[in-house]
Symmetry: C2
Subunit: 187 residues, 2 copies
Amino acid sequence: MVRTVFEKPDAIALVAEVFRELGYEGASMSKITARTKLSKGSLYHFFPGGKEQMAAEIMAHIDAWFVTEMFEPLEGEKPRAAIARMWETTDSYFRSGRRVCLIGAFALDETRDRFSAAIRGYFHRWIEALAGALLKAGLSGTKARALAEEAVIGIQGALTLARALGDETIFGRSLARLKQRLETALD
Amino acid sequence: MVRTVFEKPDAIALVAEVFRELGYEGASMSKITARTKLSKGSLYHFFPGGKEQMAAEIMAHIDAWFVTEMFEPLEGEKPRAAIARMWETTDSYFRSGRRVCLIGAFALDETRDRFSAAIRGYFHRWIEALAGALLKAGLSGTKARALAEEAVIGIQGALTLARALGDETIFGRSLARLKQRLETALD
DNA sequence: GTCTATAGAGTGATAGAC
DNA sequence: GTCTATCACTCTATAGAC
């Protein structure tokens, strides 16, 4: 018997990719073990609460990543620079649209009821952080709120259509349009 | 024993709502029978190919509805009137964001591989029909294509965020912005 | 040797197909 | 209803770190 040693952060990242590809219901334990090479023993050692705990920790992990990489910079001192970085971070995080938004996907199916607080918190903070940055950059509250909402909606919609059309170019094109719209409003 | 007689179109509509609420994997046969009141016998009579056939016929049904209600009008003689009707049709079909786009939801999880042709066809035709209408209404090909893509992306993104935030107002607000953007471009 | 994390067969429940 | 396959999950033996 060959024993491989895993660290919990690796386990979270590996399982996250399975949920991302298959969805919550589609990611059965057997598919998770097959794709991650983590045994059931390891999985239940790391996540005694089973699938639900896995999904919860993955969402918390994603949320924490966005907080440090995007939301906190947007809430900081240099709004325009943070917004510019947001577009780059978004494009690279979602691999130019080849990677879906796990939290957005969870929002659409029955999983939503189980994780509604986390889903709501993630999108709410994204919109608020961006709206706050736009406000600090000089826009009115109303305009900032509307543009922030529109940007996050556009990102989610572009991810859906990138997947639906199997189009590798639509996400980049869409981000460029959204970025342009914000810059026009700020000038 | 009380026997209820169902027609196949009713069966499709009933099962569609279960898939819409629970997703493809989440909609188990037992949940479908419980929620639709259709027996397993009826379901396998209407859909000998099981769940996969149900989903395929539901998608075809949705697609056909959009073709007659939206795509053909957009491809017709009165582009501006058809575009105006598109916003109303979209708002009422998706019940102001309370109803998800089944085809958009299928695009995000593993279901996508099974139904990729239908998913792609639906979104492709929507964008093409709208772009065609914008072209006939006087826009350049480039501008029409970009605005059409942006509109369909915005609708899908707004549906995701309406669900994610549990916000009944965001969908209407988003449609109004998208409509405004198209009208500005056409003036 | 001791202890902890992993491997993977085994559990009852429930899936979809018929 | 009945079937088999697969589900989420449990459990025990043991590999490997000390």
